[in-house]
Amino acid sequence: MKDRSDAELVIQACAGDRESFGELVVRYQRPAYSVALSVIGRHQDAEDAAQESFMVALERLEECRNPARFAGWLLAIVRNRSRNLIRRESLRRGDEIPASASSSGPSPERAADISALRGRLTEALNTLSDVQREVVLLHDLEGWKHAEIAERLGMPSGTVRSHLHFARKALRIQLSEWKDYGKGV
């Protein structure tokens, strides 16, 4: 299962294979969320946009002309959908993923710390351009390599490095002003 290529999974998913589509979701749910977050900047809306993008992708799988490049195609859907959501000001706020009752979540103090850090990070990210946000999240949050980002976003690897460099530099400046940055997390 792990060895199956994206192209194979897409072809199987086209025929309605639940397992194949599920594997595609596992592979790209985090990048999809990161791209949505880079555009929208809010967790709940990014979550909605990422989930809806998977639905749109499933409904339009036949339009993915090169199944081997499914990731880039999916992320383009996520990006467009996120922008449309912002443009229309009709962000859906329902369908929140319920936390499981047995979830061993963080303590209230730690949750508050994380929430504060998240807010600060979001503010810092908002100072970047769309593409810089996307690149830095895919690289530093999702762990994608330059070449992967370049291939999937359709830009030269050098451009990816450049965006990453300037994004990190801007984030450093923004976050260094926050003296409690990173503490306790």
Binding site: A13, C14, A15, G16, D17, R18, F21, G22, V25, V26, Q29, R30, P31, Y33, S34, L37, H43, E47, A50, Q51, F54, M55, L58, E59, D95, I97, P98, A99, S100, S103, S104, G105, P106, R110, A111, I114, L117, R118, L121, L125, V136, L137, H139, D140, L141, E142, G143, W144, K145, H146, E148, R161, L164, H165, R168, L171, R172, L175, G182, V185
Partner: protein, 150 residues
Amino acid sequence: MDTEDRDRTAGRGRSPVRATNGESAREPRQPLNALDPGYESPGYWERFHAAVMQRAAFELARRRRLARESVAAVLSGWSRSLIPVGIAAAVAAALLVGSEVRNAGDATPPLVLEDVLASEVEDRALPAVVNGQAPASPVAFMVLVEGNVP
């Protein structure tokens, strides 16, 4: 146990390269983990996955049904075209065999060498030869032939 470890335990790598991505070691990586919803909410990505799959169930079922129907349609399409062609071929073969059998009865007799040599040659047989009164002597026969040459 951090998010990555939890993912690994759950059998779900966030990215195949995440653990080995050290290509930008020269620059400090920004600690963006707090932006990961799974950072503070264990099982978040499993729930995310489950939510997507739940919403996708109808579309996947529709696609499975379409796939089944398209296979049946191909088979029935083949049957619709192949059966008439097969019947027509069988009828044609039967007619061909029947005509061969009929023609076998009145087949033309084989040609003999004399007929081939005599064909398209003007009939100039000597009456004496035809009547069986040709002379036995070659000299007399030649005289008879010479006498009939126009």
